[in-house]
Symmetry: C2
Subunit: 579 residues, 2 copies
Amino acid sequence: MHKFIRIDMTTLTSTVSEVPAKYVGLGGRALTSNFVNDEVNPTCHPLGKNNKIVFAPGLLSGTAAANSGRMSVGSKSPLTGTIKESNTGGSSSQMLAKMGIKAFVIEGMPSEDKFYVIKLDMNGVTIEEAPAEIIGGCGNYDAIRILGEKYGKHVGVAIIGPAGEYRLPSANISFKDPEGNIRSAGRGGLGAVLGSKKVKAIIIDETGAGKVEIANPEAFMAANKVFSKALLDHPVSGQGLGLYGTDVLVNILNEAGGLPSYNFTSGRIDHNDNISGETMNATITERGGEGKVSHGCHKGCVIRCSQWYTDKEGKYITSGFEYETIWGLGADAGIEDLDAIAYIDRAMDDVGVDSIETAVAVATAMDGGLIPWGDGKAVLEIVKDMAKPTPLARIIAGGAGAVGSLCGLYRTPVVKNQAIPAYDPRAIKGIGLTYATTTMGADHTAGYCISGNILKVGANIDPLKKEGQIEYARAMQIGTAAIDSTGMCLFIYFGVADNPAGYQALIDMINAQYGLSLTANDVDELGKSVLKVERDFNKRAGFTNAHDRLPEFMEYEPIMPHNVVWDFTPEEIDEVMNF
Amino acid sequence: MHKFIRIDMTTLTSTVSEVPAKYVGLGGRALTSNFVNDEVNPTCHPLGKNNKIVFAPGLLSGTAAANSGRMSVGSKSPLTGTIKESNTGGSSSQMLAKMGIKAFVIEGMPSEDKFYVIKLDMNGVTIEEAPAEIIGGCGNYDAIRILGEKYGKHVGVAIIGPAGEYRLPSANISFKDPEGNIRSAGRGGLGAVLGSKKVKAIIIDETGAGKVEIANPEAFMAANKVFSKALLDHPVSGQGLGLYGTDVLVNILNEAGGLPSYNFTSGRIDHNDNISGETMNATITERGGEGKVSHGCHKGCVIRCSQWYTDKEGKYITSGFEYETIWGLGADAGIEDLDAIAYIDRAMDDVGVDSIETAVAVATAMDGGLIPWGDGKAVLEIVKDMAKPTPLARIIAGGAGAVGSLCGLYRTPVVKNQAIPAYDPRAIKGIGLTYATTTMGADHTAGYCISGNILKVGANIDPLKKEGQIEYARAMQIGTAAIDSTGMCLFIYFGVADNPAGYQALIDMINAQYGLSLTANDVDELGKSVLKVERDFNKRAGFTNAHDRLPEFMEYEPIMPHNVVWDFTPEEIDEVMNF
């Protein structure tokens, strides 16, 4: 039996039942988005008692399939007001899948002003008061350690930091990775939703769990072999990401003139060598000690784009040190020192805020005169202050939209109030269409058109031209919605986009696990259905095509070096979701 | 010739032309809303170069008609994202009308980072750099005095305070009244729009202007006599408002159990006697000196609901000391001392922020733990700090919605991000329908259903019941849109609602002035057309029926003493604007 768990924080009770018929066959984002659309009133307040939050491993999670350990978290977002699926690495997805838990839902809101820890194990659900020492300012690194001492080092942990306790709009949900470090369901403020429900942490103890049932194990293993090889054979997923992490993109985007810098007033920086993936690799290698240049965020990852970044003494500072974070602080906010950025990254993980939203908020605040340009020390203090939080820390944790509003800026890089990441839509038009039209607010992972526009994987489109972009942005969003439902890391795209055998192997694994005979067309239909469900929610929440627009300044402020503006018409943009 | 003036802040040039045919016959809100809908792209950024702001006296402004000196200011609001008409007393409306200026528009945005003063006189438009001494922290009281020294004490002044210079979302536009004190186009952050266009002040010099042309002077005077008598004969407009100001409402609303207090968690307070209109009258009377219990915000006002509130030495502190401000600080934020509230009111006028938005933001911040409940001293310092502004001052000046978001509250009393004023929708259901459905964001002046629900003027509706509310809220909004187009003060409603002769006299004045033969039906159609134009703008800006909703908490948090929730269904609410 696959289990579907509901935890009611109003009554502090839970029910474990079979998976409702309508959710059988769904996983990850397909499950969370359908659930949210079915059960959450789209006009409810995201932090009120009527919002719900649902966690679901992907269809392939918990199996031996390479890179299948992602988990989806769904809810109505306090940042965007839209439906939200935020996904993450870490250990929890695979544990839940092995425990036969298809999804768990947290709903309601306790009347007492205290925080709780929810424990899921093979006996069911336990809700107990959170240890006092992890409440009211304790960082996530310490809290995960303390919870490990109490519940065992082997357990999976999902946790909110002080930012989530204070329900700040950028608060994320952190997930323990295999080494006890931090991965995040970062975007959209879902940590604030958990905070509103007074859930400090969720412990997942897989003790006694079996293996995920596979209908046809031989076929599964054969397909996984082909699939893994496809990932390793591709220069991006098999080499570049492992060597330099996602930060490999700094030099690539800078060269392309699509690296937004100084709050989206330029597309190129001079200090790219300070913060590039090549420099990160060299620094970690040179410093030795605990540093690792390549490392996976979950068991079974063969791409291994993470790393352990170290200080001058070779001591661990942070991991999962992503391009988008380094871009935000290094280029958009002009902080020229990678160590300074690393300490801020750690502080963001520790306090529990989305590193993209926060970095863009910082850059916007610099444009608004709240923080000196490039001042890493000031930013580190502000991020740490989110644990109190001071008024300035609250403003930054409010996200780029809040900063723009409180600074009276028209140059506020958000869509649906979510910060635009790392790739300038004026110089890379495909990604602009994703930002404008995704159901999530600006989100590069919703349809990573950088691939065909810049990396030339899966397509070969001129980033400065409109030709082919609408169809590509549509296809990428559909495909991504499907991938996000499998538990697969998005980076598998590099391995399968130009490798039909690799892509077929992915489908073969699903078929082998569930005894199905899905085709590529079925996968496509799954992706479309997910997007339609999400758009239905958003429409009922009050979103229209008028919200599927980039910030107006991009239409009249050209970005260097290409001196280009955003020039898709509203009618063209609306074509993306016309399927 | 009636003049229509365009001032282009990009080129620092202006054009004076005849009124475009489509705006002939319109005034006040009818003119500003049509103009904004015609010329402003609804998806533009309110603080970007493509927004425009338009000022228009009403149809009857500048004449001898009693209470006809209101002016409408229209734009896209940075606070709500909707179309906005914010109207004000002061001297400017009558001056513009006498000068034959039907409207002036400010558009574009200068490239240089300095502020300008625009002067309108019978020779046209002059744009000059603002005196350095009034920029960067100078309060409105001083700035108006300094501008008077430069341009003459007789001129009209519209000005933004430091809050407008910083483009804070609650920034208002202040207008000099006949004594050099301050009236405000308060709601919706239009001071930030003026700030974005780098317009510090607008000087209106009527020297050389003639009289407003009246087609049939005898009929006009006769009608005005009937009209004035109707205002003076009614106990509310002829007596109550003059004696106690709008603050007369504290005891009335407290008795009705509809006085939202402690951030909308109760409908009644115990310290009502501290802050009531009766107490205000007694205090001013007792203190003597400069105090005035009754005073008009513009020449020709016969209701005279304003007052000069004084300190213990009888020295002027503030005027236009309104019920909604006193409610917000006194009941909703629990500040129990009227003097403390008066000093905050003065500070809000001086820094240039909407006193309703700010007061509700303060109360929300108290609920969020940012300010101690009832701490008037702390609030005064924060409001003064808006001239710097400090981070906390920025948060409060962001309005109630920003405060709610940055404090992670679901109990955030806003509609379309504008603060709900002074009358609880759960206990006074008619006003809730106005808050939900007006094109302006929560705004009591958009359809003052308190009249028929509580004061029993114009209708006699049980405030706790649904019966009759939908039709009443619809009629009140239509009528108000028409009144807002005449330049008439909203309070004339009390004089004409139950007095057919008084109402006919209002129409007769318009007919006598313009040589028309309008009927009551035409006035009704005017109101409907204004609302339709505004809703068209909002729809194109992305607003749907899903935004015509009160905050969700009002549906499940009952308010004392009647222990009632907001219980109109979405379908019922949507009927209000179905005409």
